[in-house]
């Protein structure tokens, strides 16, 4: 094991003191650079898993009527391949990259919350192990990465694979939300004084915009996962007849799933926007358009999920609306493609490996975009859905755009992280093997799909032309595998013997290149003056600096307090979660059903307990006022009152549950009971979390910690507490009051 330490040491990643305890130095780190590397290494490990799964799939499909794999094994493999590639490869690697680069680009010392950062990272290996443990626990999930109900229900998938799948995605989802709340807080609150938001490098800007997409989309999936887990473990039927709806699962999954595509695509756009200008030796063409179109893509992507469901029989009317709105996304993405192309036009292009990968990503993404638009047409979608045409389309997005962009980014930034250049010669080999292999594998699949080959079927008949096309596709996959091995080999030898990179090997212009490679623990010893979007250009060309953005010495006035910022982001995220649960409640209770119903609830008692909860919003506001007026006694008094009132509410809810249980109402009695317990239960859980936070604050205050100024915890937790109360306003109206009005 000492060899590893030697390698890391030689690459300058470990200081001599840390060398003694290098394992602990990595395991316990809260440094954003190490966490970034950990994210990427974890992603690489799972990439090997998912890559081997892909090769097995292609081997099975190499010849018709193959019996290499059992049908069930094949199902597990494509499920695990998809889930792993998205949740354990693409997301961790991109988040890791952002983790490493964003604080450097904005001239920050670290992420806003280093410990939250470490926590978010460690959830990735935890979730990954949880998912893969299913192999040992009776079989991996075999339901596809979107786990459509009712196949994913216990009646049809009785093995615990789906349970592990849902639990692990829940864990990973929480980690992703944590990481992205951190990105938001970092970009808003930790920028260097002159790094105004309008001067942000495009990479950081897009990661920032993307972070909002993550915190808004992931909770929707989390709500769905919670529902399918309740279905599976508590025998309810959210997604099963009678009463339940399998289509509901699809809505929830794709309301997350469509933004998810952009969650991994926007960081890839970010990479392209950073690398293409540097290797064209020109500033990006139309910074504002590239930045603005990201916002447009992010918002549009949240509202068009129904185009994944054209074939489910939503009806002609619904299809029409989503055909139109889905096609709109082509506009901002087109703007981006034009801007990148215009950046290259007239530039002095340098075709180093990072640039080659970015150009390839641009070209491949264009194809992916075109087949994407063809899927936006419902009529065409009906013909090609569930065929290899679709498989080819999304692999052009996920491999052609995202993996290529990631490879470009790694070749570009690894010299910064290790201080060693990767071999250009091996890099070019990797590139050509990858591009040729990729196109061999996936171009042909468009034709297979149009010829009618269905996806997710473990073998196929020996129809004319199918055999050679599939064989070609399989051979291509092995080219890609060879490229991946070559890349890892390149990585290892560069860490051992790579040429020294120096601070700025690519003559780039953003702040991460202003510090040493690898950067010191504190990132910067000093920062160059920041006046434009390319500070290092200004340093190198004092005679022809970029135009100043904003005013010369402008210091960003917009620097919110980081605890409050993170809580606001968290509240936005939680709003998404509760919105899904509330909509589900309304949907499932629209028609009266047999068994327990809302009229049996005791509105009077609940109203009394609700008053306590609402009053606690007032008391915590008084506590905040007390803190502001430096009145410790008052603050502690009102804080205690808040805790007591919250406790009474929880006690009241417990009492209500107890009465319901006693009268035989259980979570699986009917859909009313299921949705009632789910919605009020999760609200109760949030109240409990708030109570724990308040108790911690109370303990700290009693220990005298609140005499420190500033003491931002109370304001932040106060916001969360108000949020929990507001959610209850909605729950109370929807569950208790609304049904009585009808």
């Amino acid at each position: 094991m000492n060899e590893i330490a030697t390698v890391l040491d030689r690459a300058g990643i470990l200081t001599p003191e840390q060398r003694q305890h290098w394992k602990m130095a990595w395991l316990s780190t809260v440094d954003h650079k190490r966490i970034g590397v950990l994210y990427m290494v974890t992603g690489l490990v799972f990439f090997i898993f998912a890559g081997v799964e892909a090769l097995l799939i292609r081997l099975q499909l190499a010849v018709p009527n193959s019996t290499l794999l059992q049908p069930d094994t094949y199902n597990m493999l494509f499920t695990m391949h998809g889930t792993t590639m998205i949740f354990l490869v693409a997301m961790p690697v991109l988040f890791g990259l952002a983790n490493y680069i964003v604080p450097l680009q904005i001239g920050a010392r670290d992420m806003a919350f280093p410990r939250l950062n470490a926590y978010s990272f460690w959830l990735v290996p935890f979730g990954g192990i949880l998912l893969h443990f299913s192999f040992l626990a009776g079989g991996a999930p075999a339901v596809g990465w979107f786990a459509y109900a009712p196949l994913s229900e216990t009646a049809y998938s009785s093995q615990p694979g789906v349970d592990y799948w849902a639990l692990s995605l829940l864990v990973l989802g929480i980690g992703s939300v944590g990481a992205n709340i951190n990105f938001i807080a970092t970009v808003l609150c930790s920028r260097a004084p002159h790094m105004t938001l309008r001067r942000l490098p495009l990479f950081s800007w897009m990661i920032f915009v993307n972070a909002f997409l993550v915190i808004l989309a992931l909770p929707v999936l989390n709500a769905g996962l919670v529902m399918i887990l309740i279905d599976r473990l508590l025998n309810t039927h959210f997604f099963l007849v009678p009463g339940g709806s399998a289509i509901m699962w699809q809505h929830i999954f794709w309301a997350f799933g469509h933004p998810e595509v952009y969650i991994v695509a926007i960081p890839a756009f970010a990479i392209l926007s950073e690398i293409i200008p540097v290797f064209s030796r020109k500033p990006i063409f139309g910074y504002e358009f590239v930045a603005g179109s990201t916002v447009a893509i992010a918002f549009l992507s949240l509202g068009v999920w129904a185009h994944h469901m054209f074939t489910t029989g939503l009806g002609h009317t619904i299809d029409l609306f989503f055909v139109a709105s889905s096609m709109l996304i082509a506009i901002p993405t087109g703007v981006k493609v034009l801007n990148w192309s215009a950046t290259m036009i007239g530039g002095r292009l340098r075709f180093d490996t990072p640039m080659l990968f970015c150009i390839a990503a641009l070209v491949q993404f264009l194809v992916a975009g075109l087949t994407g638009v063809s899927h936006a047409s419902a009529a065409l979608d009906w013909q090609t859905k569930n065929s290899y045409y679709l498989v080819a389309h999304f692999h052009f997005v996920f491999v052609g755009l995202i993996v290529f962009a990631i490879l470009g980014a790694l070749h570009y930034w690894i010299p910064k992280t290790s201080g060693r250049m990767l071999s250009e010669r091996l890099g070019k080999w990797t590139f050509w093997l990858m591009v040729i292999g990729f196109n061999m594998t996936f171009i042909i699949q468009h034709f297979l799909g149009l010829a009618g080959m269905p996806r997710r079927v473990y073998t196929y008949a020996d129809l004319p032309g199918w055999a050679w096309m599939n064989m070609l596709s399989t051979i291509g996959a092995f080219f890609m595998a060879a490229a991946s091995v070559l890349f890892v080999w390149n990585l290892i030898i560069s860490l051992l013997n790579g040429r020294k990179a120096g601070d700025n090997p690519w003559h780039a212009w953003t702040l991460e290149w202003a510090t040493s490679s690898p950067p010191p623990h504190e990132n910067f010893h000093y920062l160059p003056p920041l006046r434009s979007r390319r500070p290092l250009w200004d340093v190198a060309h004092p005679d022809a600096p970029d135009p100043v953005v904003g005013s010369r010495g402008e210091i960003d006035q917009f620097k919110p307090e980081k605890n409050k910022t993170s809580i606001v982001a968290f509240i936005m995220s939680e709003t998404g979660f509760f919105l899904v649960l509330i909509l589900a409640f309304l949907y499932y209770n629209a028609a009266p059903q047999a068994g327990p119903n809302p009229h049996e609830l005791d509105l009077f008692k609940t109203g009394l307990f609700s008053l306590c909860l609402f009053a606690s919003s007032f008391t915590i506001w008084r506590a905040e006022t007390g803190l502001r007026n430096n009145n410790q006694g008052k603050m502690i008094g009102w804080l205690s009152a808040t805790i007591v009132l919250g406790g009474i509410f929880i006690g009241g809810q417990g009492l209500e549950y107890w009465h319901l249980f006693k009268s035989g109402v259980d979570v699986n009695s009917n859909l009313f009971a299921t949705t009632f317990f789910t919605l009020t239960g999760f609200h109760g859980l949030h109240v409990c979390v708030g109570l724990v936070a308040l108790l911690v604050l109370l303990g700290l205050a009693l220990a005298g910690d609140s005499k420190k100024r500033p003491w931002p915890g109370l304001d932040a937790i106060g916001l969360y507490w108000h949020f929990v109360d507001v959610v209850w306003v909605f729950v109370l109206s929807v569950v208790y009051i609304l049904p009585r009005l009808r």
């Binding site: 309008r198 916002v295 619904i318 989503f322 002095r348 003559h507 390319r534 135009p547 909509l583």
Partner: protein
Amino acid sequence: MSTEQFFLTAWTWNPLVLIIAGVGLAAYLFVFRGEGRPAWLLLALSVFVLTLVSPLNALANGYLFSAHMLQHILLLLIVPAFFILSLPRSLSLRWRPRFFAHPVAGWIAGVGAMWFWHWPTLCNAAVASRSVYALQTVSLLVLGILFWIQVLAPREEERLSPPGAVLYLFSACVTCSALGVILTFSPVTVCSIYALPVGDRLGIWETIRTGWGFSPEKDQQIGGLLMWVPMCLIYLGAIFAQIPRWFGEAPAASPATQRL
């Protein structure tokens, strides 16, 4: 009545609407005397008049929920927005009561209007009673103005900052989408008066049901979808308009001619 006949004859030349439009135009020209941007006002008034006299109004009046929804969107989002855009840039709206000046009040006005008037009882009452309908129309216009002032106020300093406006508009979009989703997928009828029509003043049920293929379910679905997708796109459009505002304060990016 055939489709053509219907579109040719079903114009409700409500004198009150025309008078309001005429008086509004005259008052505008008198008060601002060429200072404002009358093109926007003409747009606002044309949409206003067309919404209330064209066959759309006839359809919304007891025939189609989806027509009612379209009318609703035009009156709440389009007419007030165009109206505010027509005001002269120098006009301060600071005189408005402080309570209405708060963004939360504006947000509740704009979003609340949608939820309030789609409460089944009120939705039906607005069709059944002309006075409730008039009240609804006026309230939509007023609430729409209160909503848009936050984003479109003539003076830059009286508007929300671009990030604030994005949050304001996006949360409005989500909230309206939620209602749209409920209407689209609701297995029960929200506005029953459209599903169980009492009469057929114009004699076009036959055309609507068989000729156009509008079943009551489909009608409600289109209504919900109008609120879910195009209405949300109006908010998104306003969000996209924040982008040039945000970057407009900074000088343009460096010219592409500058090379290494």
